[in-house]
């Protein structure tokens, strides 16, 4: 299996992880127009290249991870615990 890097557990089998989706910023629910809100719900960049993704280390530490992953090569250039913040 492909190994994915977990900042808590180290490199682990990709089968332990769940892909949540491309990360999307939540609009202000009090001010968002239907268009903005549905963009948040449904529209993703889906690039053939670097993507900002959210993964869950389901069979490991149970933490959500923010990953910068190349969708063509599978390379991962950055990963952090989603709770730690970072340059988004």
């Amino acid at each position: 299996m492909v190994l994915l890097p977990c900042p808590h557990c180290g490199p682990r089998d990709a089968a332990e992880f769940g892909y949540v989706g491309e990360r999307a910023a939540r609009p202000d629910p009090g001010a968002a127009t239907p268009q903005q809100w549905r963009g948040y719900l449904y529209l993703r960049r889906n690039p053939a290249g670097w993507a900002d993704e959210l993964w869950l280390h389901r069979a490991g530490c149970g933490r959500y991870l923010a990953m910068s992953r190349h969708t063509v090569t599978g390379d991962i250039r950055a990963v952090r615990d989603a709770a730690t913040g970072g340059a988004d």
Binding site: V2, P29, L54, R58, D81, A82, T84
Partner: protein, 927 residues
Amino acid sequence: MRLDGQPGEVIHRGTPLTFTWNGRPYPAFAGDTIGSALAAAGERVFSRSLKYHRPRGLLTADGNDPGCLVQVDGEPNVRGAHRRVSAGMAVTAQGVWPSLRFDLKALNRLAGPALSTGFYYKTFIRPRRLWPYYERVLRRFSPGGRVPSPSSPAGRYEHRYAHPDVLVAGGGPAGMAAALAAAEAGARVMLVDDQPALGGHLRWGGPDGLAALAQLRAAVAAAGGIEVLTDSVVTGQYEGGLVAVVQHGLPGLTERLVKARPRQLVAAAGLIERPYVIAGNDLPGVMLSTAVRRLINLYAVRPGARAVVFTANDDGTAAAADLARAGVDVRRVVDARDGGDIVRVRGRGGVRAVECGDGSVVRCDLLVTAVGWTAPTGLLTMTGGRAAYRAGAARFVPTELPDGVLATGGLVGDGTLAELIGHGRAVGQAAARRAGRTAPASPVPDLVPAPHPELFAGRTNGFVDFTEDVSTKDLAAAVAEGYDSIELVKRYTTATMGPTQGKLEAVNTIAVVAAATGRGIPETGTTTARPPYAPVSLGALAGRNYQPVRRSPMHDWHVAHGATPLVAGAWIRPDHYGDPAGEVRAVRQGVGIIDVTPLGKFELRGPHIPDLLELLYVNRWRKLAVGAVRYGVMCTEDGVVFDDGVTGRLGEHRYLLTATSSGAEAVGEWLERWLQTERAHWRVHVVPMTDAYASINVAGPRSRELVRRLTTGIDLSPEAFPYMRVRLGEVAGVPDCVVWRIGFTGELSYELHVPAGNGLRVWEALLATGVDLGVRPFGVEAQRILRLEKGHLVVGQDTDGLTQAYSAGLDWAIKMDKDDFVGKPELAWQRVRDGQVVLVGLQPADPELVPPESSQLVEGDRRIVGRITSSRFSPTLDRSIALGFVAPDLAEPGTVVTMLLPDGRRLPARVMPQLAHVDPEGKRLHG
């Protein structure tokens, strides 16, 4: 015939055993292959060929042998020259009918034209309506074994993942040297070989080879960090560097698929000897030089009595020496290097004589050929490497290697043993360096393919592909019909497409096509190799199913008391105990208990719990007092109902949240997702407790009496413990229980969450203590009826992936005056949107009719106006009841809607004033 002890023999003469071949017992020694044991017993015919059902025997005496696919104990397509025999093994020939000796299908040979070149395409195309018939005919005449029947004992298969630094494919001298050098540099090495022991050609190559092999094996065993996988074959390299290895010969395991992702792959697959294409070259008794050397040196089997050897290299000469030593009368050695040739093999059912190029005919029962080598470059070319033809060496050699792959040994070139080992060491060091280890950067010495005459096909028509029964004539016919590209010839004739994947036949195919087209071999090119490189069983691909099954602590009790099991996600639950209607009546009239352990349970701790609940539920939570319980509904950001359940406040900063059984895992991840991503500053700890508590719902008008007899420290009076409250206390002597007063069934009921280890104790105590109250267990089916009578929706049953909360009759729970909650904007828009379907209670006019769930509600012939989501016969009302979605204009109580049943009937049902069919006022709940 079995020879005296050979220095390198792998049979264990001290362990004789018996197996059966086509029902008759045969002797063997441990270490024998099926093929060597049968050959030792004098058997020569092992199978019948695909199209013409010609008798076939041992050709290569290794895993690639095309004539030796057999059926073993019900397992089809076993490579008989590779699989070791075991005591009692039942081996049968496959593709023969009625028997190997008298094969009716051999009459195919007389049917000539029907089986001409491209017959798959020409004969079985038209008319189309006959395809099912053609398929049956083809299948009957195909050489595959019989598919195991569902009742035959299943093999055991499993998967394993591996992440070595370096994977060496091939355990000959170069591969072993590469593994050793890489391991010395600190690399973790996986060394894979398809034979039961390391060594490659050294195993059968004479005393010098055996001495060197002993040293190499000792070094591998002594080196740390080399994992040796024998009886294992690399079947392919896939995207992302995945290398698939199929491992055999493990105790208790049929096959294991190792999915390895090495940082570096070293291909050291050695060389494969090629057959010579002349008339009669498929007769039993025609063998390659490597085949007879394996038979003599590994298995001490004399492969024949009188032999002719046709050789173009030193290995043929060595084979002749081995034959002589084994007592075979070598009648003639024909050396191609001196201009010798052979023209035809004569015989029926076996070799009788060989016709030589000089016109002489030599009587013999064995023809041994040594006409050249094929480098198995398939593994390299399937991932982007390239191979080119070297005419001077009469073989293809790798010219470009894919990223992450190195090659050594015979695959690259020829040399002395020392040269092979030297090349292997340097490549092993390079692999270790590329894998990030420190190794000396010694230059990789040259390893050049030795000169060899180009010798592929003789003057007569012979078999090029033994597994697919493709001859020189077939290939020439394909070329004459215009299929002049090698890829087209391959598909048209099916040459190289058999179980050996072209390893044996590919180069001869190319050479014959090149000759027929008048082009050279380089211009003709190679066919594209695709995985798998070697056969893989479907069992190994599937592996073992590790899906866990979850059982409550009371599971065995349910089984012992006749419960009908219900598979609900990963859980096995009691559906009923034989009489669901009786179970319903017991709950309505007396008291019943149900095992609801799969209910999702999460203990929450921390100061920000109200914030979390306010965000994730549509309801309000801030004023929930300690000891109080509230029903909550969760939506996703699109306003669709996601889960529901009750949450109780156990302490100042301690809550117990419940979720649906099926949604428990998703809810756990949902809670964590919001806490980890959007609200990381909130201090809430979520502990999954689903398995930690056994959960029992005690329901019915007499439930209070029953629970009171068993609880200590909890005042159960209606005033002290009203509806929607939660208490902590002791039940049946078990401390730390959570007791809820809630009512999914619509009855007065208490739900007991008991530390799991004591679940059965409390369950049995309830039944024993409540005998006089008429207590009985009820299952999931009774609970479904009870909740439907009460009109309580089930998320996922009465809602679907599009049901927003206002459609599910949950208006009362949605608090739009909260600043924010998940899904709020969508629900705000839904509230003001017209035309939203509504969940309503429905009763068919015919009280006996239970409309199947998912029946449509229709208006006329064109309009679907709704759908039945739940339906049951209510024992309490003695009539059918339902829940369903209807268009808003039909939601008015008393409206009659039309149900369209699957059988086409259209029958009326009435919309009820509320979802609850029984006790809409809730008197029973609050009693």
